[in-house]
Each structure stands twice: as C-alpha cells, then as structure tokens.
Amino acid sequence: MSAALDRRALELLPSGERLAAHDAAVWALRAKRDAAGRAEPDFERLREQARRIKAHSLDHLDVLLERFESRAQAAGARVHFAEDAADLQRIVLELLRAKGARRVVKSKSMLTEECGLNPHLERHGLEVVDTDLGERIVQLGDEPPSHIIMPAIHRTRGDIGALFERELGSAPGDTDPGRLTAAARRDLRARFLAADAAITGANFAVADTGTLVVVTNEGNADLGMSLAKLHIACLGIEKVIPGLGDLAVFLRLLARSATGQAISAYTSLVTGPRPGGELHVVLVDNGRTKLLADPRHRSALSCIRCGACLNTCPVFRRAGGHAYGWAVPGPIGAVLAPALTESDELRALPFASTLCGSCTAVCPVKIDLHDQLVAWRASDSPRSAGSRSLGRLASLVFASPLAYRLAGRAVRALWPLLRGAPPARAWLAARELPEHPGASFRARFRARGSQQ
C-alpha cells in the first residue's frame, strides 16, 4: 500500500466508540442481507442468472446502448453521451443554463460523485441540494459520502444532531433520529417545491423499452422528477440491460442484497418525459470502455451498487469509506478505481485487502472480487526498484533450504535493528507483531522432539 494511502487511512480511521458503531451498523446490513437471502428460495439461482445477464449485456453493450438510445428518444427523451467527467459536467451545466435553472435538487448517484458534478455546478453559481437524507448530512457537513447506500454511516446521531442544530435550527441537544429526519424533511420539502430542475442517477436502463429505472427508499427521486419540469438522469454506460424480464431479476436481488428488504419503497420506471416536462439522459463512459476491453476485469462493470461487499469487508468495516479516497469504497471500489482513474495512489487500493473472499461470497452478480484484487496486484502493482530487488532476493532465498536457514538466522540476529528501519517501521505503524520466541521453528521443533 502506498505511503500516502497508509497515512490517510490512519488519519481517517474511526476509533473507539465510533469504530464500534460503524462496524455494528455496517454488519447489521450484512446480517439483514443474509436473512433476506435465506428467506428467498430463488436467491442463489437469481445471483447466477444476474451474473449471466450482465455478462451477456456487457458483451453486447454497443447494441444495447443504441437500442436504448433509439427507444428512449422515440419516447421523447433526449440522449447525450459523455466521454468523461469534464464532458458530463459541461453537458449538465449547458442543459441547466439553457432552461435558466438556478435551483437543482439531486437524488443519489454514485456516478455524479465519481465525476465531481456537484462542485462543478456550484462553482458556476447553481444551488445544488442533495435530497437523500444521508447525502444531505454529508453535504451539510462538507464531506464526501462514506458508503454507497448509507452515505453518512460514519456519523453518530450526536454528530448529526449538532450539525442540524447549526445548519437547520433543530432543537439543541436533540439526537432523536425521528425528529432529526423531520427537521431535514421540512427543509427539503421547501427546496423540492422551489426547484427548477432535478438530477437523478438510474439503477438500470432497459434497452427494449427505453426505460430508466430509479430506485429509492425515501421517494426523493420521485419528488424531484415529478415536481421540476426539467429532469436530467446521469448514468454509466454499463447500466443498460436488455429487457423487462431481466429487470425483474435485478429488482429481486438489489434491495435484498443492500438492506435485506424484499424491494425498496419506490421503484420508478421512467420512459420519456412527463407531459409538459423535459427528460435528458446522459450516458457516461469515464473509463468504462477501457475496462470493457479488459477481459480479466470486465465483470467489475456488472456491479449494481448494492453495497453488500462493503458491509461484509473486514477492512471496510474497520477503516470506513473515507480511507479509500474515492467515490466508491470497499472491495468494488478497489477493483474499479485502478481501472477508472489515472491515480497512482488509487492503484494501491487492491493491496488494502485481506483477500478473505467474503466480498465474492455476497456479491449479487457474482463478481470474482477477491480474485480481481489479486489480479490487480499482480498486473499493476506500483513497485519501486527497491521492492523489486527485494522480491528477487526473496525468491532466491525461498528456493534453497540452506539460503532460507541462513537468512532466518541473519534476520533473528539483526531483528532489533531491522524493526527500527524505515520500511519495517512504516509497516508496523498500524500492526503488532507477537514477541519473538528467540529460536527458529525448526530448532524449537527439534527441542520438543527430544523432550518426548
């Protein structure tokens, strides 16, 4: 792991009660997911079906995109394509300006987080209000989301009470989730009613019918897009699936994998604009066609952003989402970031894993997450010349029993010096080693044998 990532992780790591609360809240989601999976006799077969639908869809992505485009346009939507984050920012800003929109309400979209859309629009004088409660909390606190479905999971009710007291005028000392939610609801209701435009993501795009599928529990996407005249939906090109039959499979898996619900509270199928309204769909590449061309890692594009791999990951549960330094944290973030960004620092993320395989075991579309982490390590590790020669030395040592024994003796003798040297010191900053027993395993084994 890169030194910069190590440092940031240490700074952002929750500790004490905060760590326990984060771990418990995230693990509770995993437990609910397990219960929902066990209660649904079709669950395991649905996962395999979903994997196969996505594999087929990705292998025909160009055809599906064209079909979606023509069907959505036939229904009255305007479809735009964006090469990258800058392209998305430009297109959305132009659409808003063309309509003279000033006040924008937004529902959750990991893509727009990935592409930095909010800060761009704000720099150009637009008011952008995140309306998902968790996203509103982190927006008011001026920090990024830390989880893809629970953006404020790293915050305690005490944090949120203090934030709302300052920002929304909630009662001093009030930490009751019900009353805090009511305070946010009052503030956001007025903003929904005043909005000129709504920006949403989309969970799926159905090619056969030109339909966008937008899923929320709060109903915030539905409020936004049914009140404002202008609706702009931003989604990655990998979200397109063939037909409504395929959609059924994903809708049965998504909420069960995310929160253990049988389905989320609102699932809206949006085909064309409402009467008197305008619907724009922006399909964003931002590195996805590059990933599509990489057979080893292509299946990472199958992700439906349920968050199950985050909730089960021993590293995520203890480190929290901010430590990853990218819009999508957790195992899926660690396999997407090296592909979708140019950041050398993020290329180190695949090393921040225990490779326990729990992520792969819960993924609703069966992405081989831990194997992909290993593949990224092998193909793309940011190794220095020093660590490469160390690697070569190690392979010589492990190849010869004599060299191994001699090296062991040398390390035992020099250990007090070695553990203070910079590479070992950095590694030990966040880890503990047991006390050294003073002799090699072989020596101790022999000694035991002679006693018996």
Binding site: E40, D42, L46, I53, A55, H56, D59, L61, D62, L65, A75, G76, F81, A82, E83, L133, G134, I137, M150, I153, R155, R157, P177, G178, T181, R185, R189, T209, N217, E218, G219, N220, D222, L223, S226, L227, I237, L244, G245, L247, A248, V249, T259, Q261, A262, I263, A265, Y266, T267, S268, L269, T271, G272, P273, R274, L283, D285, T289, L292, A293
Partner: protein
Amino acid sequence: MSARDSILARARGAVTRSVTPPESFEPAHRRADFASFAIQLAAAGGEGVGPIGAAELNTRVTELCRGLAPSPRVLASDAALLRLGTGPWSPIPSGADPHSLADVAVAILCGSLAVAENGAIGLDGREARPRALPVLCERLVLLVDVSALVPDMHAALARLPDGALAHHHFTFVAGPSKTADIEGELVLGAHGPRGLTVIGIEG
C-alpha cells in the same frame, strides 16, 4: 467523431459477442393471495386491509379518514371515486399544479398490480392525477382488486398493463417513504407518505 460515435466504436471494438444470454428465469412457485401480500407489506412498514367486498369499501375508507387529523385534505383520483362513491374526500382539482398539493393529508388512488413476494403496488402513471401526488401526501391509501395480485416481480413486469410504459412513469410502491440514514435506525416518512394502507377488494 462525436462522443457518442467514439464511445460506441470503442464498445464495439471491445466486445466479442461470444457470450450467450441465459434461459429465462423460472421462479419457485409462490402463492399470490392477499394474506401473503399483506405480510410483506407489513414488513415494509405498510398495512394491508382485506380483502373486503366492494359494498364495504365506502364504510372502511370513511372510517380510515375519520381516524386521522380533524378535517384533513383528502383527495381521491377519478378511478378511486368511481369505486368509493361520496364521502369525506374530494376529487383532485383538474389541471392542479402539483405544487398546490403539498398540504394533502390523504391521497386515495387505485393500484394496477399487487406483488405478493414484496408487498409492492404498481401505480400506473396514466391515472388522472399529478405525478407527484403519491409522494407529496402525508398518507397514501391504495385500492387494488385482488385479481391484480401476482406472485413475484417476474409476473409483475411481464403483466404491465398495455401502454403503461409509453410516455409515462410506472412506479412500484412498497410501504411508506423511509430512511435509515441516521445510525441505521428506521424512520418512516423521510420525504413522502408517513403511512401506507392498501385495501384489497374482492368481487
């Protein structure tokens, strides 16, 4: 080359078209009765009433409305009015600006599908009402014929009413608006309805 053409060209260059689609999914058999539906709806924070006979409907919905705050604003869609007759509700003002509906206490609408596996009701966007009404109101009451029950989402999406997707929103609603964004604690009424009642109608 436009962004569209270059993205499609790169996608075309990346795919092999060697992956075949899976056979269509065969779900396990499941009952599609109102009782199973109501159990799932309760798990989603809503309440299922019935199934009741059409003759009983007016009385039951009147009781439901009287149990709420004094003289609340109750609106019913034309389709719901046809089934309800007269009572403590009024029709949705025609051509109403959705912004004028922010104070609606109860909205009574008709559902076109009910999904037993998850307690969801399908709301057809072609019903004559502002699209925002079911998320603006404080409490949502949905009337649904038990003949509209389907076992699962496969059946629901296969049986969307003809034309339900053309130029419209079709929404599956399962329970009231909800959030668990503060320490994972469930709160009903995040933005939209704080309560949802589905009344199943027989015969």
